[in-house]
């Protein structure tokens, strides 16, 4: 294979979150295909320590942005990367929907303190550096700037991450197996990748249906009158977890992960965000769970509902800032 005329310029950044997404990209480089063949990571603070000034040397082709917008610095980073990139991709649940850091939006900050925190001891503020101001609440990337593509997941599964890189960075120039990426993608996206054209703007690199579509567990559509929590006894293999009385969000969550959590016996918590046809994941889960109640008696139902705890923190575990329609902030476009 000959050297591509012009390698694509890549920027990779994490705002407030963990490094799992960036490590996923690093792993792609060694496990799937070397990024250096077709891309030049010109901005990657985590691995290369690149300063922000590096962005002023011409436009970046693709920026992969992970992490929640939690501080003024995160907001500035989003604005800078939007301005200097052709395509801005929200990678991971944090950038895509607000993620776990966004869950703190539910809490009252005055009550939340870890350990025993003492105040700043010395009063001489002279010369001490400052911190980027915290935003009033955690936001996802699209609430701050327009986002071109989304790669969901906490962290994104490797095949979808690679699909995004393949589609947006290599544009079909890579000799790697296209089927690897295209296998679980919506047909339109898979075709675009194979043809080397950009998928439609706003495409989410995930499946089309709900996680239940790829979950291997047995569904029987039975009614039941129990509510279980995951510390209680249930079958780790076999029967559908929702039908066993556990809250499992597969039914409200976008497919693409392959049902990895339900596959190892733990319920889905929705890190891929809501499935496209769903208005609000919490409302969908209320409908899904209550439809299984095996009772016609208002008192019995009320008693059953008593057992459910922390619905908002569970249904919007990864998506509170953006997909909880009662608490969310509107998008920027």
């Amino acid at each position: 294979m000959s050297r591509p005329e012009q390698k694509k310029k890549l920027a990779i950044y994490t705002a407030t979150g963990c490094r799992a997404c960036e490590q996923g990209i690093l792993d792609l480089n060694y496990e799937v295909n070397e990024l250096g063949r077709f891309a030049d990571p010109v901005f990657w603070p985590y691995v290369l320590g690149t300063p922000w000034e590096a962005l002023s040397e011409g436009k970046v082709d693709v920026a992969l942005f992970a992490g929640t917008i939690r501080t003024e610095a995160d907001r500035q980073a989003a604005l800078k990367l939007r301005e200097s990139s052709e395509l801005l991709v929200a990678v991971g649940a944090c950038a895509a929907f607000g993620g776990l850091p966004g869950l703190a939006n539910l809490a009252d900050a005055t009550e939340a303190k870890a350990g025993e925190t003492t105040g700043s001891s010395s009063a001489d503020g002279e010369g001490k550096p400052t911190l980027p101001r915290a935003e009033p609440q955690g936001l996802c990337l699209s609430q701050v700037v327009a986002v071109d593509y989304v790669v969901p997941g906490c962290p994104p599964t490797q095949n979808l991450l690679w699909a995004a890189v393949l589609a947006l960075v290599c544009r079909g120039e890579s000799p790697a197996r296209l089927s690897y990426a295209a296998g679980r993608l919506p047909e339109a996206v898979a075709e675009a990748i194979a043809a080397g054209v950009l998928p439609r703007r706003g495409t989410t690199f995930a499946g089309e249906k709900a996680v239940c579509g790829s979950c291997s567990r047995i569904k029987e559509e039975k009614k039941f009158g129990i509510c279980k929590r995951p510390y209680q006894e249930y079958q780790e293999t076999g029967r559908c977890l929702l039908e066993q009385g556990l809250i499992c969000q597969g039914v409200a969550t976008q497919e693409g992960c392959g049902g990895i959590c339900t596959g190892v016996g733990v319920p889905c918590r929705g890190c891929f965000g809501k499935a496209p046809a769903i208005f609000d994941p919490g409302a969908k889960m209320v409908g899904a769970i209550s439809s299984t109640f095996d009772s016609k008696d208002a008192k019995e139902i009320a008693a059953l509902v008593e057992n459910f705890v922390d619905l908002a923190g569970t249904f919007y575990r990864y998506s509170l800032p953006s997909q909880c329609s009662l608490l969310a902030t509107p998008d920027k476009g």
Binding site: N105, L106, A107, D108, A109, T110, K113, A134, P136, Q137, I278, F279, D280, G282, A283, K284, V286, G287, I289, S290, S291, F293, S295, K296, A298, I301, A302, V305, F308, D310, L311, A312, G313, F315, C324, S325, L326, L327
Partner: protein
């Protein structure tokens, strides 16, 4: 400034509560003008997301009116509505929607006075609560 006028969205079953609402008008019962009625075929088709969307779009209260248990035109639609309501109420409560703002009521076609009474009570109670602000809970937050 004029008094706060709550906006109430009412999802009314075509076979009972909607008829009752109609009859309440025809019978000239005094009713508060705060209700926007939406006719649905059955209280069982009011998905929780309709209610969440109503609140998200600025409603101060939501009423779902259906047939008494056993009287459903589709046999068990109202039972479905009954199963959903408590769980939905719990979720809404966690997000700062007070209990009184969302109600599920059984009102038969023959009970127009009951309909008017429900509407009037609900309007006054929500007026006391004040407007529903959808960011009440999160807007107060700041970081130390």
């Amino acid at each position: 400034m004029s008094e706060f006028e709550p906006k109430i969205i009412a999802f009314l079953c075509n076979w009972c509560t909607y008829v009752a609402a109609d009859a309440a008008g025809v019978s000239r019962f005094v009713q508060k003008p705060n209700v926007r009625a939406i006719r649905v075929n059955c209280s069982g088709m009011v998905d929780p997301s309709y209610i969440v969307k109503a609140f998200a779009s600025g409603a101060d209260g939501v009423l779902v009116g259906g047939c008494w248990p056993g009287d459903c035109h589709y046999i068990s639609g109202n039972i479905k509505a009954m199963r959903r309501a408590p769980l939905l109420k719990k979720l809404l409560g966690e997000m700062g929607v007070e209990d009184l703002r969302f109600r599920l009521k059984w009102i038969a076609a023959s009970e127009p006075s009951q309909y008017a009474k429900t509407i009037n009570e609900m309007t006054e109670e929500i007026r006391k609560l004040g407007p529903f602000s959808r960011k009440k809970k999160s807007a107060t937050r700041s970081v130390a």
